[in-house]
């Protein structure tokens, strides 16, 4: 069914002026807001996740319940009109923390659904780089893609006493859902959890499949003794790599932004004597 035809077939309320749509922060939530806009024939001023909402002057707000089937219909609509790559761009852009992301995605969807946009333009929408509707979406997408890469690079697992491998991260976009396929394939022999402290989302891989859990607090058992030792080995390895004559911390900071450096064991402040003590005193219980 055409998205435009949706209008009028669902329960309508009085149209709201200056309305902001709020959602639960998931991709489904955002897509349902777009669905709602079609149903209500409204043009929302803002589409934001509920926890980030800051009301504007004389603005009303409306919370849109996530509904998987509605979201799926929006997805099908985008894929039909603009192809699956365009939907891929929407998925990434929607993960951006920028409060404008919702509206940018909404405008993009309207553009590709609009019959006045020629068929050819709709099909090749991602090539239309100088069109602000498209370039805004792609700018959001690019930033998320970068953050995704950072997660693949800098997520660090520790081995917990219950056998699970655990990592914390604090990305500035909701990228955990986007990197779970990568980690679940690569580490398919180890059950693991990646917890995003900024978005309070945990990606959980149980050894077979992965799923997302929204959780504000997460209790983690302590790590194994071996794990602490391996981390020390890693730090020592890192320290040995440095070539004094090439020292260039500015360049390193460019690659590892300070906000991410905090969660990297190799960037931890430490003195070489402390390391020495560990290597002399502890023994590694395993074969190594």
């Amino acid at each position: 069914m055409e998205l435009a035809a949706i209008e009028g077939k669902f329960a309508q309320r009085e149209p709201l002026q200056h309305v902001a749509y709020l959602h639960d922060g998931s991709l489904e939530g955002l897509l349902c807001c777009i669905f709602e806009a079609y149903v209500q024939r409204e043009v929302p001023e803002d589409i934001v996740r509920e926890r980030d909402y800051q009301p504007r002057f004389e603005q009303s707000s409306f919370f849109v319940q996530s509904d998987f089937n509605r979201a799926l219909r929006v997805r099908r609509g985008i894929e039909r009109e603009a192809g699956s790559q365009a939907f891929g761009a929407v998925v990434r852009a929607a993960a951006n923390d920028d409060p404008c992301a919702g509206v940018v995605v909404y405008r993009f969807v309207r553009y590709v659904m609009d019959k006045r946009t020629g068929r050819d333009k709709r099909r090749n929408v991602l090539n239309d780089l100088a069109n602000p509707v498209v370039s805004d979406l792609l700018a959001l997408e690019r930033r998320v893609a970068n953050e995704e890469e950072k997660a693949r690079q800098f997520v660090r697992f520790s081995h917990l006493e219950n056998g699970v491998w655990f990592a914390r991260c604090c990305p500035n976009a909701n990228v955990v859902p986007l990197v779970m396929n990568h980690f679940a394939a690569r580490f398919n022999i180890q059950p693991f959890i990646i917890y995003d402290e900024n978005h309070h989302v945990a990606g959980v891989y149980d050894g077979e499949d992965w799923s997302l859990v929204a959780d504000d607090v997460i209790n983690v058992p302590s790590r194994t003794a071996d794990d602490a030792f391996i981390e020390k080995l890693w730090q020592r390895f890192y320290d040995s790599l440095s070539i004094e004559a090439r020292y260039n911390p500015e360049l390193r900071r460019h690659f590892i932004p300070a906000r991410l450096a905090r969660s990297l064991p190799e960037m931890e402040e430490r003195s070489r004597t402390a390391l020495k003590a560990v290597s002399d005193g502890e023994s590694f219980g395993r074969r190594i």
């Binding site: 100088a130 398919n188 022999i189 390895f237 090439r246 911390p249 390193r252 690659f255």
Partner: protein, 483 residues
């Protein structure tokens, strides 16, 4: 010796090996096995000098029976020696990998007992990794010069990438500084690796080919594991010997062409010894290394030919403009180009426009006229590109004289090497304390006709021999290596 100390010694000894990429091979994950590889590679950390850390880069051992002058591990150097057992190394790799510290292993080694013995040790470790641990991550192994062809074949099938170090940019320098590594010992394995990779690709194409007739298709059994699917690379030290950029770039172009190298790495010589055959200076030619990499990049990703970047009359790359800008300045008659119609290859040659930018322009110009605003949005470095383009017939760099001198001043950009380190900003390429008189690249370059041959009596003096190496023509070198 405990593992911590071993790791420290063997990582420290391996750090001058520049290559640390994990790209070029794409092996999908498999249920029940650890790891995969991504064709783009992945950096997991960065050293305090900003180099990517992608692999656990260590030596199997830093014990070495050879005595290469430029190397910290040479047998005449007094350093602490250590060796991993194959099991230690395999376990350590797995432990790091599971924590997402690394993409895999980069194993190199000093020569312990004999090249074959050393290679066997490495093979043992890799077999443990691949077979006992079922490891599917990235492995890069260095081939020890002098190892037998059978062992190299075995090694290549356990690795994603193998490399043989060229060590130095000319035969004479090699003979002088690494007398035990004869040229054949380096080039022979390179050839063998090239052929094995090619053969392997052919077999794979056969297996993949769809049956074209209704005849029952004979299944070609996969005899072996793939041989080094990420190809081979090599590296050479620059600045320890007097070869010019012209020689070095021609050599690397020949390596790409004749040996199908995936990468040729350059590493600025770090003073590690008091040997009188080596330059005694504290300055490291990092800026030169930087320019060489830029030129290398242009050859690999922008389809520049080496002759376009450097010629014998100017055998060193410009220090204050990058090689791409320099090419544009030398070919001003080809500019400015029209953004709305220029072919992709020409767009890529505009300073400030990279391959991605060029592709984006081609995509975007189908539907929109592109002016400054649009180009900036596409991520083009408009500040540089403006002098070389017109947008719908209008010159974008107006107000500037379109001459080499005036544009040179606009494009000159010092290399930002940070505020630390021993960057040899003020050291001219080739001007090393090794030479009695300051070495003038311009003068040297013109001297191709009459190479300064050492006097017969001085032939044994390493300094004299080195000076001779400088003048030997690169054409000979390349031909002699690969004829």
């Amino acid at each position: 010796m405990d593992l911590m100390t071993k790791l420290e010694i063997l990582a420290d000894a391996a750090k001058y090996d520049v290559a640390c990429t994990s790209s070029g091979s794409s092996r999908a994950a498999q249920k029940g096995k650890l790891g995969n590889t991504l064709s783009s590679g992945l950096c997991h950390s960065f050293t305090p000098d900003g180099r990517c850390v992608s692999l656990l880069k260590v030596l199997m051992t830093n014990v070495c029976i050879y005595d290469c002058a430029y190397c910290v591990n040479r047998c005449s150097n007094e350093v602490k020696r250590a060796a991993f057992t194959p099991q230690e190394l395999a376990d350590l790799t797995i432990e790091f990998y599971r924590r997402n510290y690394i993409e895999g292993l980069f194993i190199s080694s000093g020569v312990i007992k004999s090249p074959d013995y050393t290679t066997e040790l490495i093979i043992n470790a890799l077999e443990l990794l691949r077979h006992q641990h079922g490891f599917r991550g990235y492995i890069h192994a260095k081939v020890v010069p002098g190892a037998s062809p059978e062992l190299i074949d075995q090694l290549g099938r356990l690795c994603d990438r193998v490399s043989v170090n060229l060590e130095l940019p000319s035969r004479d320098s090699l003979a002088l500084l690494a007398p035990e590594k004869s040229r054949q010992r380096i080039v022979q394995p390179m050839r063998q690796i090239r052929d094995s990779i090619a053969e392997d690709a052919e077999t794979r194409a056969l297996v993949r080919r769809k049956p074209t007739t209704y005849q029952h298709q004979v299944r070609v059994a996969r005899k072996h594991e793939a041989f080094a699917p990420a190809g081979q690379s090599t590296q050479m030290i620059i600045g320890a010997t007097p070869e010019s950029d012209f020689q070095i770039l021609n050599l690397s172009a020949a390596l790409y062409r004749s040996l199908n190298m995936k990468r040729v790495f350059f590493s600025a010589y770090m003073p590690v010894s008091q040997d009188e055959r080596l330059p005694q200076t504290d300055a490291v030619q990092l800026n030169r290394e930087h320019r060489l990499y830029q030129a290398d990049w242009l050859m690999r990703f922008y389809q520049y030919q080496v002759e376009e970047l450097i010629d014998e009359a100017h055998p060193f790359l410009e220090t204050d403009v990058d090689p791409k800008a320099n090419w544009a300045l030398n070919n001003l008659d080809l500019f400015p180009v029209e953004i709305s119609t220029a072919p992709l290859e020409m767009l890529m040659r505009v300073p400030g426009i990279g391959p991605k930018g060029a592709r984006d322009i081609v995509r975007a110009r189908r539907t929109h006229a592109l002016r400054e605003h649009e180009l900036r949005k596409l991520g083009i470095a408009f500040k540089r590109a403006r002098y070389f383009i017109t947008c719908n017939g209008q010159y974008a760099g107006s107000g500037i004289e379109f001459t080499r001198e005036s544009l040179h001043a606009r494009l000159a950009a010092p290399i930002n090497g940070g505020r630390h380190g021993r960057r040899a900003d003020r050291v001219l390429p080739g001007q090393l304390s090794l030479f009695d008189q300051p070495f003038d690249p311009k003068l040297e370059g013109n001297q191709t006709s009459a190479p300064k041959l050492p006097e017969a009596s001085g032939a044994t003096d390493p300094r004299v021999a080195l000076r001779a190496a400088r003048s030997s023509s690169i054409g000979d070198e390349v031909l002699a290596l690969w004829s």
